[in-house]
């Protein structure tokens, strides 16, 4: 085996690429869960975003437009979950699972004519000065727009939840929806918006897989990224910067195992490719053994204004 073929600077650069889809999906899900909604449909919303982004980008040759449409369509798609759980009071776990199953079916249907095509990808930004720094420039400042946008989004969510009135209302709704309702806040409306935000960022995350990371369309290509995003939200104790940290750790594991595969490690490929999932389980175990701190108190509970 040849370890020298693994270049640390490239490793960090590709770590950011492989972490970004999970990061985008996880930050949106964190907001939804902060409002008290457990949406298990992340995987479905991601794959719908992936296929929509791909179709738009291939047909218009404008990847950025692909991302925008992916966010819009996945946002609308998440409203199925929103209407069912918030207005029709369905079980959140079952509805989220349904969303994932429908998303997988719908995307396979839509994407069939596009199998095997190549999509246009985002160009790497050409950042003057910073991009020219040896090693560091290649590592951090030679990426495409979406990577910087995802980090920016984390900052925005952090600021929104911590420093704005609307963010406080959202957290109040998630902690105690009855009290929030008694204070006159619109619980259902807040949750619908949070679900839609989660849908939109999941769509972006999915589109990042089909437009930047791979860039191709294959059926079921999100391969559990949405579920890993859900796990990262738990890992992060619902805190935005920890979501970033968690996503980058998982990105690192994924990239490292791919690099080991490429370097011809003596570990069989199948064991390497199961490692991200195994590590997710191990992390979940460590987190839960400390007790799930920071879980919104109303998470997953149905709300019905009885008055």
């Amino acid at each position: 085996m040849d370890f020298s073929s693994i270049n640390p600077a490239l490793l960090i650069a590709s770590l950011m690429v492989s972490a970004t889809p999970i990061l985008l999906a996880a930050i949106g899900e964190a907001v939804a869960e902060k409002s008290g909604v457990l949406n298990l449909g992340v995987e479905g919303m991601m794959i719908v975003g992936a296929v929509v982004g791909f179709i738009i980008a291939v047909n218009t040759n404008a990847p950025l437009l692909g991302f925008i449409c992916a966010a819009i369509v996945s946002g609308i798609f998440s409203m199925i979950f929103g209407i069912l759980t918030q207005y029709l009071k369905s079980n959140q776990v079952a509805t989220g699972l349904g969303l994932t199953l429908v998303g997988l079916g719908l995307s396979a249907l839509l994407g069939r004519p596009y199998e095997g095509m190549k999509s246009p990808t985002l160009r790497a930004l050409d950042i003057p000065f910073l991009g020219d720094i040896p090693v560091l420039g290649k590592m951090l400042f030679s990426h495409d727009l979406m990577i910087y946008f995802s980090v920016f989004l984390v900052a925005i969510v952090w600021w929104f939840l911590k420093f704005t009135h609307a963010g406080m209302v959202l957290r109040a709704v998630g902690e105690n929806h009855d009290a929030a309702h008694a204070l006159g806040y619109k619980v259902v409306r807040v949750r619908m918006l949070a679900i839609m935000f989660g849908g939109a960022t999941s769509g972006l995350g999915g589109a990042y897989i089909s437009l930047a990371r791979v860039p191709q369309w294959t059926e079921g290509m999100t391969a559990g990224a949405g579920w890993i995003a859900l796990a990262i939200v738990v890992f992060a104790s619902w805190r935005p910067w920890r979501v970033l940290f968690g996503a980058y750790i998982f990105g690192g594991v994924t990239v490292l195992q791919l690099n080991l595969q490429a370097a011809g490690a003596s570990i069989p490929v199948e064991y390497l490719s199961m490692s991200p999932y195994l590590i997710t389980i191990i992390v979940l175990v460590i987190i839960s053994s400390r007790g799930n701190q920071g879980a919104p108190a109303s998470l997953g509970r149905p709300f019905h204004a009885s008055s």
Binding site: L84, L88, S90, V93, V102, G105, A108, L109, L230, V285
Partner: protein, 358 residues
């Protein structure tokens, strides 16, 4: 707008009515979907729901397929229904199904080419054990450390898929297979083959087991204290706690039984209809069974009926693929829509809907 009034008790009438309503709405919106795809909606619906059973050209082939497809779905869904009732969410049945198949096939291949009447019963035990052990991982973590069983059981599906890929190219690979991945064909190994009990009916041992499981779970849920505890935990967790229901035992029971049944389903599949361990052995039964369980109202008899219905959509979907060139994924979409409409119509069971502002 409309106003909802919570019913003090679920409406019995709507509990039975809403699945039928959901099926009708799904057929209508499915028809619209097919019309958008450029097909005659009435013809498409007929091909999916009617032709597999009654068309003279296809029925002889597809009627037995109904049981072949329904068997594993019912087995898995019955297991899941215990957990779903108690609020233990095993969504990794697909992984337990794979592990059951690997365990069962490994046992058979270990004995190959010896012939003995004991091999098949041993395979049944091995299959159930494989699924059971795979289900015990999330159960143990949930009971001891309160780790989220949804995420753990799901992650284990991907791990099981990797193991499946590994063994079908390595450990269990057919030595006489000219280098192709995949195990020996168990259907050609008499002692291990899961044969049809009545020829040309599709009724293999797994289907028989599915029917037995329906009866067994009906008795457990209506006559046994464990069934009562499960229902109590789901409907009134606090009351269950005060009445001394052991939550650990509940988690282990629910994940154990659903794991074992999913493992059995996998074992019967690999020894029967599929015949061998290959990379593409699993076909999503573990996920579709979730829909079957909900559509059947988590009730054994309901699951029996919904398992047959979903099996019909599989066969009808294949026929529609053949006749109309509809993509296979449209059936997956169809099944998902069915779940959505069911969840939506459940509103009527739990709430009174009043039109008007007050």
């Amino acid at each position: 707008m409309f106003k909802l009034e919570k019913r003090p008790q679920q409406s019995q009438k709507w509990i039975y009515l809403s699945p039928f309503l959901a099926v009708v709405i799904t057929m209508i919106s499915g028809g619209i979907l097919f019309a958008i795809l450029g097909e005659n909606p009435f013809e498409a619906i007929r091909i999916i729901f009617w032709d597999p059973l009654f068309d003279p050209n296809f029925a002889s082939y597809s009627r037995p397929q109904l049981l072949v497809k329904a068997g594993p779905l019912i087995l898995i869904a019955i297991g899941l229904s215990f957990g779903f009732k108690a609020g233990v969410w095993n969504i990794g049945a697909e992984g337990q199904y794979i592990m059951g198949a690997i365990f069962g096939a490994s046992l058979a291949l270990a004995f190959y080419p010896m012939e003995s009447k004991l091999i098949f019963p041993l395979m049944i035990i091995a299959g159930a054990l494989g699924g059971f052990l795979w289900g015990m991982i999330p159960a143990f973590l949930k009971a001891k450390l309160n780790t989220n069983e949804i995420l753990v059981s799901l992650m284990l599906v991907y791990v099981a898929e990797s193991i499946l890929a590994s063994v079908s190219q390595g450990l269990l690979k057919n030595p006489d297979g000219y280098g192709f991945p995949g195990s020996r064909n168990l259907q050609k190994y008499e002692s291990a083959a899961n044969v049809e009990i009545i020829s040309n009916s599709g009724m293999h041992w797994g289907v028989l087991f599915a029917f037995i499981t329906v009866i067994f779970s009906y008795i457990v849920l209506t006559r046994h204290i464990q069934g009562f505890n499960i229902q109590l935990t789901g409907e009134a967790p606090r009351a269950a706690k005060f009445s001394g229901v052991n939550p650990t035992a509940n988690i282990v029971f629910c994940l154990g039984i659903s794991g074992a049944l999913a493992g059995l389903a996998g074992m019967f599949e690999v020894a029967g209809p599929s015949g061998q361990i290959t990379i593409e052995f699993n076909s999503g039964y573990g996920f579709t069974a979730i829909i079957v369980a909900f559509l059947g109202r988590l009730h054994p008899i309901g699951i029996l009926l919904s398992g047959l219905l979903i099996a019909l959509t599989y066969i009808g979907g294949e026929l529609a693929q053949l006749m109309l060139g509809l993509p296979g994924a449209s059936i997956q979409l169809f099944q998902g829509m069915l779940l959505f409409f069911l969840l939506a119509t459940d509103l009527f069971a739990n709430y009174r809907v009043k039109i008007g502002t007050n």
